[in-house]
Amino acid sequence: MKKLLILGAGTAGTMVANRLRRLLDRDEWRITIVDQHETHYYQPGFLFIPFGMYSKNDVIKPKRDFIPAGVELIMSPVELIEPDHNRVKLSRDGRIINYDFLVIATGAHTHPEETPGLQEHEWYKSIFDFYTVEGAVALAKHLRSWQGGRLVVNVVENPIKCPVAPLEFIMLADWFFHEQGIRERVDITYATPLPGAFTKPIASRHLGDILDQKGIHVVPEFMIEHVDPDARKIVSYDEQEIEYDLLVSIPLNMGDTVVARSGLGDDLNFIPVDKNTFVSPKHANIFVLGDAASVPTSKAGSVAHFAVETFSENFLRYIDGLEMQPSFDGHANCFIESGFGKGLLIDFNYDVEPLPGRYPLPGIGPFTLLQESEMNHWGKMMFRWMYWNILLKGQELPLPARMTMAGKWNDN
């Protein structure tokens, strides 16, 4: 029996377990997946919790429900990955698991403790995050009775999971305060380390214009050094200060600590891999999928989905002794909620930045790219059902894994 070991039963790990269980011969391959937490979170749904659109129950299900028959699930933290011995040491009972091939899908996590003043006595009082279910729920409670003031949304450092989520949060906040009848009493500021609203120039311009129309103030190139929770201000390394009444932080994102313990990661515990095949340059039988990988595309579920799809096909070639094809192009496809029942869609890859145009989808689309439409909002809302019922189970979606230029306007 050949042994495939997957670390992490989040979005990427669960999808690849489902897909490879179907593709690999059950008489020849044993698949094991390890995770330390019982609950699977639909992370894109966290965004809607602060505004009362989703509740906690809408975003959680047991991980076990998504692990197929024929895959062994072990609940345990991982102590150490030992690539030179092709084995992994688990924390629980000191168990050791040997592997022939290893897929690391241990994700990215937020670390508010890395920014002085952030996770101290004002945490969940005047300072919140929405990248955890606890933070999103606490913020929902706070917003129900908030009377207005200065709302500051701050990204500590990039990369972050779902880089459009902070923008969505701001646009939904604008809409939410309108609905509450207190928009004129709220001042919204977005402080980001990036030079503009978004990383890529054309999308940054379009999104920047939308934020401008909504009366949202963007402070670019703001690299936070610390929070002063008593004076209620954030201070940057170059000593700019922004005062707030309510601070919503997107804390530093880092890869799992087991990556650091095992000496596999970069300065943020993300693991360098070939950006087209996900194979580790150091260990030919180790692959990294999802947010754990250091590749120059978004840390997002759609990327994990396209990555798993191309990787699975490639893995079948690899185990038969063929070269891997450089088939993953960095494709990301993200709905961006913009409030008032509308949304945008961006579709891009390593080489092509998000462009305006139309995104064709037979039977349902087209969706509008980089422009607001109600259709995009419904696309986003429909996505939760697709996530639980199709995506996680590793089933086919009618979306090509590689990006296409069809419908995109390439002249501005």
């Binding site: 990383t199 120059p296 978004s298």
Partner: protein, 105 residues
């Protein structure tokens, strides 16, 4: 694509002012780009960071991130913001003749 002319030698730079070919880089070019970026004089403290970035760039083929620099070049984040104000990772990459640090999309 445009060109930067220095002592009669022309060097190719892209739309954002980054060198197209890192091997064309010289210390004089660094000083020239630094001036355009608003740094009148490169001190020993600047050079320590630039030299680290050059070395990292030549070995890895890409520009280091801010965190990589502060973790490895013996300079604090506060100091690097003083040396290369406003977007230090991007600024020092440009002065070091490297490509823009990989965007975080």
């Amino acid at each position: 694509m445009s060109t930067l002319v220095l002592n009669g030698i022309s060097i190719k730079i892209n739309e954002e002012g980054f060198l197209v070919d890192p091997s064309e880089w010289t210390r004089e070019i660094a000083e020239e780009i630094a001036k355009e970026e608003g740094i009148a004089e490169l001190t020993a403290a600047h050079w320590k960071v630039i030299e680290y970035c050059r070395q990292y760039g030549l070995e890895s083929g890409k520009a280091p991130t801010l965190r990589t620099i502060t973790n490895n070049a013996g300079v604090s984040t506060k100091e690097i913001f003083n040396l290369f104000p406003k977007g230090p990772a991007k600024k020092v990459a440009k002065i070091s003749g490297l490509d823009k640090p990989e965007g975080c999309v």
